[in-house]
């Protein structure tokens, strides 16, 4: 008689496979749906304004004129300030926690930073208004928004940087130290080459977060119209802040313009993230 090698019926396996596939498909479907409906509703304003939507400084809903350059600028400028402030601090904290701090101090620092990450953004925004704008006299400006955003993205960059730095093999750190490297020389010579790709990725992720942040930025950036300036103390506006502030009283074309802003933001963050990935991948080779 032939041996029966058919085994158990793998119903559960089949079901699991379909379930996993369906979950993945739903995510993609939702993303595509969002992109399509948003893009569709952005068409009227782009039809009317053309490329001027991105290049004009005049945003005047009453006249049906929508030039988004100031908001584009505000988003990029505040995010750049945030990253410029947050990255050195995050790197410093990550290096301190992984390389310098005594063991007993590491867990508390990490815990506190993780707490910072879960504070609701509206709290940061209000704190920014009360303390930075009023008490420190920064007013509502690009700088105030940049500082608030920096505080908000520091935990995520630190946490990623910490993980990246910890992937440096002990054997390579020992190799550097055995050659007479000081701790700093070891960090520069062994930890940095290992971590730089991941750190670029962490930075880009922080950049993406800073650009998309709505409430905190809306509270402190100043909500002015039309400022495209390097003056960090000038009030400005950013894309998510404009959307949040104007949606309620917008008519059809105005809504289309705000949706176009959202689509633009969506595209920029995707490009930033893809860029981050490309850099990480390339430096892995």
């Amino acid at each position: 008689m032939a041996i029966d090698l058919r085994g158990k019926r793998a119903h559960a396996d089949t079901a699991f496979r379909w379930l996993a596939f369906a979950s993945a498909a739903i995510v993609l479907l939702v993303l595509a749906l969002i992109a399509l409906t948003m893009a569709g509703r952005a068409v009227p304003v782009l039809d009317r304004m053309g490329l001027e939507f991105f290049t004009s400084r005049r945003w005047s809903p009453a006249d049906g004129r929508f030039g988004a350059l100031p908001f584009l600028w505000g988003t990029l400028y505040t995010a750049a300030i945030a990253v410029a402030l947050a990255v050195p601090v995050s790197l410093g904290v990550a290096l301190f926690v992984t390389q310098v701090a005594p063991r007993w101090l590491r867990a508390p620092i990490v815990y506190l930073l993780d707490l910072l990450a879960v504070v609701p953004s509206v709290v940061f925004g209000l704190w920014g208004v009360m303390v930075l704008s009023q008490h420190f006299g920064l007013g509502r400006s690009f700088l105030t928004a940049g500082v608030i955003l920096a505080i908000m993205i520091t935990p995520i960059i630190t946490s990623l940087a910490r993980e990246v730095i910890e992937t440096t093999p002990e054997s390579e750190k020992e190799a550097a130290l055995a050659l007479g490297a000081t701790r700093w020389e070891m960090i520069v010579g062994a930890v940095w080459p290992h971590s730089k790709a991941g750190l670029v990725g962490a930075t880009m992720l922080g950049l993406g977060r800073a650009m998309g942040e709505t409430i905190a930025a809306a509270l402190v950036i100043g909500s002015s119209l039309g400022q495209v300036t390097l003056d960090a103390f000038a009030p400005g506006n950013s894309m998510p802040a404009v959307i949040a502030n104007e949606w309620g009283e917008a008519d059809e074309l105005h809504k289309s313009a705000l949706i176009a802003l959202a689509v633009t933001l969506f595209v920029i963050t995707i490009v930033v993230n893809m860029g981050a990935r490309a850099i990480v991948e390339r430096s892995k080779r």
Partner: protein, 272 residues
């Protein structure tokens, strides 16, 4: 033969002088009562079963134990008469003079050239010509130059294990240390690659003092001038194993006519 041995024993100056050395990891005493001398331009081998503390003692000689949290050293280790654990002593400076090659080849994920230039660079050498010179000299000394001279810019990770280990040796001697410590340098290599490293060690001993930890008794017998045999003793009070030094002597004597029965049992394969 005996005459020559005595003669060299008188001449070779002491580089390391260990007296009643003990090492703790937290409250655990890993090694105790190590008293021995390591002499210039000799190869000293540390042998013994696993857990006998030979690597621990080796890592005391260039302060690598400092990196292990809770490690503490008692007794005295001097290097040319200077207490290695003295308050004025800087560990990086110690390690610059006393290089180390590890059990597993650990090149940096950089080019062959940059691996060798790492040490000279942190010592402030920036001049290209000078660096080129050091790289070539070090690779030649490690018998690696002819194999890699056409691909100095390619990644060290593309080399074979044996080449990587010779690269690590070249990287170590690029900083012109006086001593090279080797922690089971051949344990991750095949016999042919091991033989090349042994050959290299014999060449290097003219210029460096070498201390090697090895599991391989034949290797110790083949390459070393002097051997220290360690073993692990069970401490009756704490029920922990602590490494002790059983005996030291010229390799010829230790392998042919050991003083202690424990040494004889180990080298004849009756134990360990």
């Amino acid at each position: 033969m005996t005459h020559v041995e005595t003669f060299s024993e008188v001449l070779a100056p002491v580089v390391f002088d260990l007296s009643s050395l003990e090492v703790f990891y937290g409250s655990f005493r890993a090694v105790r009562d190590v008293t021995l001398q390591i002499r210039a331009h000799e190869i000293t081998a540390f042998i013994g079963p696993s857990g006998c503390g030979k690597t621990t003692v080796l890592r005391c000689l260039n302060r690598m134990n400092d990196l292990i949290a809770g490690a503490r050293v008692g007794g005295r280790v001097t290097y040319h008469g200077v207490d290695l654990y003295g308050t004025q002593v800087s560990a990086p400076e110690v390690r610059r003079r006393i290089g180390m090659v590890f059990q597993k080849p650990n090149p940096f994920p950089k080019s062959i050239y940059d691996n060798i230039a790492f040490g000279p660079r942190i010592n402030g050498i920036r001049d290209r010509v000078k660096l080129d010179e050091i790289v070539e000299k070090s690779l030649r000394a490690a018998a690696l130059w002819d194999e890699v001279k056409d691909r100095l810019r390619s990644s060290a990770l593309g080399m074979s294990g044996g080449q990587q280990q010779r690269l690590c040796i070249a990287r170590t001697i690029a900083i012109e240390p006086e001593v090279v410590l080797m922690d089971e340098p051949c344990s991750a290599l095949d016999p042919i690659a091991s033989a090349r490293i042994e050959e290299l060690m014999r060449e290097l001993k003219n210029r460096y003092t070498i201390v090697i930890v090895t599991h391989n008794m034949q290797q110790a017998a083949r390459v070393s001038d002097r051997t220290a045999f360690f073993t692990a003793e069970l401490d009756s009070q704490s029920d922990q194993r602590t490494g002790v030094l059983v005996e030291t002597g010229t390799t010829a004597k230790l392998f042919s006519n050991p003083r202690e029965e424990r040494t004889e049992n180990y080298i004849t394969g009756r134990f360990g």
